[in-house]
Subunit: 388 residues, 4 copies
């Protein structure tokens, strides 16, 4: 099968001790220490096979491009993979995807051939301390389609049935094409669901939720906040186009921080109370945190989702006077998939509004090039052709 | 001022020990032991006065008729008030109401004259064990407009500012008339909010919520479930007219239990999983509980709201095999008012669809007569005239 | 290897449809429909083998006898197994046990040979809806050592590493013999932990916890309540010997309901407030529930653990006036094992006080005979000999 | 009556706009802007009177000296009160205290003359958004004994009955003298209770709790962690004497960070897992946070209690990879008083071990002088004489 594949050379840095296990499997714990010269291509990968009785083979139909995919395709300053995390090459990237079940193992009960499914890319062990405490995405032995297993930009993929979530109800209500689109968007939505709902415990009905950063994660936060009973959803981003999508997804009001002080605006919008939940999906915590602290309501929650690569200074005195909290989270496992799918099936959420472009697999490199420009909300790759 | 007033005669039953406090205040702990021959009339009551610096005087504009109001107006088998609860006569009934602020005490900061407000009828002490544990509606010293204080069917009422919740945002979005209607409906919605949200802790996004009994409480549950992210809302009632309103309020599917087995239907609707939350708003727990037990999902919650006057038998073995829970609740205090108002202001909930009739105060007895027939969802009394 | 084994004859009742899967595996969904003439013996069973790379073989050292074990060994009125649940014969019973790791599969990381471990008897699939919602004990495909897999009364057993919880810290503090005893008691403690902590969400620090029924489950509740910060622990049972153990485990006061009204006593002990949490571990919910309802505090929680075979009538009106809740639960999976072990390692809990007798495997039938008399708290079988 | 009184001169800074309300009441919103030359003395203050029917007059018996009391008595660089918070002079300081009820208002039901009570110093309005959301200590109109009302170093004080928590059960078990001591220590314990329990939601039974900073707040955290079921309690401080008290209060192990890397030590103590809850009671968040981040377990909670006057830099990437959270809190209102008292009455907690000195009121200035040296855990002032 073909896929959008990352290749690189095995060239461990001096000082990195490659383990026999890494030698044997090719799966390195820290990609940035071993894998040199990462490069993208449309290449062949072996077809997946059913290796366990709970395995499912999926024909991949729609796959979102994520910021981390772009990251992967660009070497760091030393020419190495820009990712201090487990990786294996060559690998078909893509961890936000949906497809059609084409074959199932003998013990599979959750899905059957022909079913449309969204696929969780993360594979947790189920046995480690994190898994047994309900933190599957923090699994000590996590595997990850698109990183350590072939992912959703390939024509086919294989997944445990546990990671396959039927889109049947979405297809019934909105048609198959929309169902696949939704299936590709469930992953980013589940990433922010993990932070807002699983870690932060959600917000009270009627509360004000503010979202900094209207990339796909932030836009999903906007949509979820509205679907789950926020009274006000306030969206903040520098890009007018993204604020427009935020409004379409239900933001009550939007703000460009180039036009003024975001914290001040949040306080005005809330009659001085501040926001009960602030989602920081900006990736720029060092910029957002001061505004969040200044505009968080008494008892409020700051849900910090995604990676901040610069250190973040926190005015803890201000947070103390507001009895506020900050929540961090990782990954998409944890109940987000069925919830987000159900909200689409119920017509309460329509994340497809954030799709701004579609590409066939053969145009995968062009898709990545466009994604790199950062002007889009969400681009999709359709490994088996753009649906009619 | 005029109001729809309950009168009765002070005639303590043999065996009931009237306390000096009861003698002094006229407020009896158990109305059914002391107050004989309850009767309704449109009568004069003294105008309310500002007696505390946090008091607010409200011109009452819209007031819902509740099942308990009907109860109050009909003597029990012995000819006494049919209410084993604190009461005082004469009293203007009405505990679901909204109005316009006309005067405020010197320390009031939450509202000002001219504001539209929904008024919480319950007055908690703030000092007892229940209050200090966040269970205001279980206050040991609870007073209750419409029962022990003059309520919302009178032309005017007085309330602590804490109990007055501005409808400003609703009026801005939907106009004043709708805002008053909403204000009158917030109370029944808050009663079921207390059970679903405060006591039972809500449901997970995308979950299935089933509602037994589509009177105003059940209808509010239907609306709230949808507004707060239920994936499916399944409504059950014997009256086709009420099921229609349920559908208008967002029920995914409706069912008349006269047409078949409700538990079976719920299991079919949920692919055999059952409902994650079942709200019993029927007042007929002895009938509903067996169905609820049979149709509750693993880990599910049964929210039992309102009074069941017959004993309820529970198949605890079945609940054990499902690790289910049952939650009981009381009253409307506890954060429901601001939440329900905010959901209306945000356009996520429109409970006014359950209003099936309106009466001026002079037609109050006719309104009660019609309410007694039980065919309506919600009737309103407008003590200062039906709005144009 | 030898074990305390239940045998029975395969004799499906008319009307029970044996599935091909049941034929093939011998594992029936409802033991009481198929298995006739259950009988106990000390018999040979095949030695367990490592069949998965995460498997662990354990030399079983201490195994508690549970009420359900007694149940299993006595035919019902029709001469069938008295258990409407999945079963397989012949099977070595015992689902409360600890032992020493003797062999591990190639992928095992949690334990190593020589480790002392408590073994969770329940084996969940990790993939079904219940598992993915954190309700492992409600797994749709649950297997159960002592019921459908050979259990802890045999000399050896095999378990997934996930089900093996090291007793190392307990052994370090209290010695190996105590560690094995603790290991055998963790299961009943985790059963009630599931109800009190996982389902009911625990109690507030300093709250009053009352426990009805001081068998091993109830005694564990007494110990846990004290270890987790209850202000008062009130224990109720008809047997003076069990109340003595309850007192040794930290009950603040104890009560024999033959001597008076338990609800009345609870109200007296709490200055009229009632108990914040009531654990019903009596198996006689039809008797306990009325008392629990009468003595539950405002906002209180009733944790109903274990099976009630008679229907239970609930005064829902009383529970409504107290805004109370009832929680049901199943099984021991769910985080209880590490918690209970840690509390013993920390010296905060000593459930070994409930051990009232020990038997070698050869005396297993005598042990069961004595257990059947119901006078003991907890009897242990030591399949590899009573420790010196 | 006499008390340990702070005086200062009314000398508004240029740029601070004194409001008419401040002029009228003498209560300034920001003490550091108006009050110049703060100084301590043993002085006369008017006896308190019952001004409301729920008021209680207390003869103050034991009052702890808090770090903020020391702060108050030392001018800042400009010679002003070193407190950017509401204040009024002259005022008898002391907000950690217990005494005997000597007189009660007509409506008081919770206490009676002769009762021993711990007094909450904070007085919340009960009506503002914070109060109605259960965040009493964040009340918008908070008054504070020892800051804006005369406090516990005076011979008498007056409090609403709601703020008076009986020590009766403690006195019965441990005697009156101990009960008063406990009563004076409940406040700092409730401050950290607010953060650990109310805000952070506690920890799981058997979890590891680490405490940075073993002043009275940190020591209370150590004691509470043990009393509420922590498996390990790890205490960290630079002062050997304080670590000794931590050990006496139940710390499993203690560490002086001058002797090595605290994070490393925490990881060693927990087998590499890290601490499930880390309480930062150091007041030096800029030093502690990096260690806390490095040693927090997956899913762990950092409870940051007390004020950090330097900015705190947070490695949010590390917290993301651990799905950790940070909780901030304020004040002592919120259920800590009854909980901490009940734990003492139950014999589960003995915070009196942290008392390192006692002073009569006449020696109040000497007490403050000693407190200023920072070597003590907790010093008490006995305004009516040191108990025999």
């Amino acid at each position: 099968m073909k896929g959008l594949v990352i290749s690189a050379d095995w060239k461990p840095k001096a000082g990195y001790q490659v383990t026999p296990e890494e030698e044997r499997t090719g799966l390195v714990r820290l990609g940035d220490q071993v894998l040199h010269g990462p490069r993208l291509s449309i290449s062949e990968r072996p077809d997946p096979v059913l290796s366990g009785e709970h395995d499912v083979i999926v024909r991949d139909v729609a796959c979102g491009i994520c910021g981390s995919d772009i990251h992967l395709s660009q070497p760091d300053a030393d020419g190495y993979l820009a990712m201090p995390a487990p990786f294996r090459v060559p690998i078909a990237i893509g961890h936000e995807y949906a497809g059609e079940v084409v074959e199932v193992g003998s013990a599979v009960t959750r899905v059957k051939p022909g079913d449309l499914v969204a696929v969780e890319a993360q594979v947790n062990c189920g046995n480690c301390r994190a898994c047994l405490r309900g933190l599957a995405a923090n699994c000590e032995f996590l595997l990850d389609r698109g990183f350590t297993l072939d992912g959703g930009t390939a024509e086919l993929s294989v997944a445990h049935e546990r990671n396959c979530w039927p889109l049947t109800d979405v297809a019934e209500r909105h048609g198959e094409r929309v169902a696949y689109d939704v299936g590709a968007l469930v992953e980013p939505a589940s990433v922010v669901y993990n932070c807002m709902i699983n870690r932060a415990g959600g917000f009270r009905p009627g509360d004000t939720v503010a979202v900094f950063g209207c990339g796909p994660i932030g836009l999903a936060a906007v949509g979820l906040a509205g679907a789950l009973g926020a009274g006000r959803v306030l969206a903040i981003d520098l890009a007018a186009a993204k604020l427009e999508i935020a409004a379409a997804l239900g933001a009550t009001a939007t703000f460009d921080p180039a036009s003024g002080d975001a914290a001040q605006w949040l306080l005005e919008q809330t009659g001085g109370v501040g926001a009960d939940m602030i989602v920081d999906a900006s990736g720029a915590g060092h910029v957002v945190m001061p505004a969040a602290v200044a505009a968080i309501a008494v008892g409020g929650k700051i849900a910090s989702v995604g990676a901040n690569f610069k250190p973040v200074e926190v005015d803890t005195l201000a947070l103390m006077f507001r009895s506020a909290s900050i929540f961090y989270s990782l990954g998409h496992l944890g109940g987000g998939f069925p919830a987000v799918i159900a909200l689409h099936a119920a017509g309460k959420l329509d994340l497809t509004k954030m799709i701004t472009g579609r590409y066939g697999l053969d145009d995968g490199l062009a898709a990545m090039e466009r994604a790199r420009r950062g002007e889009d909300a969400k681009l999709l790759i359709h490994p088996n052709g753009i649906p009619a």
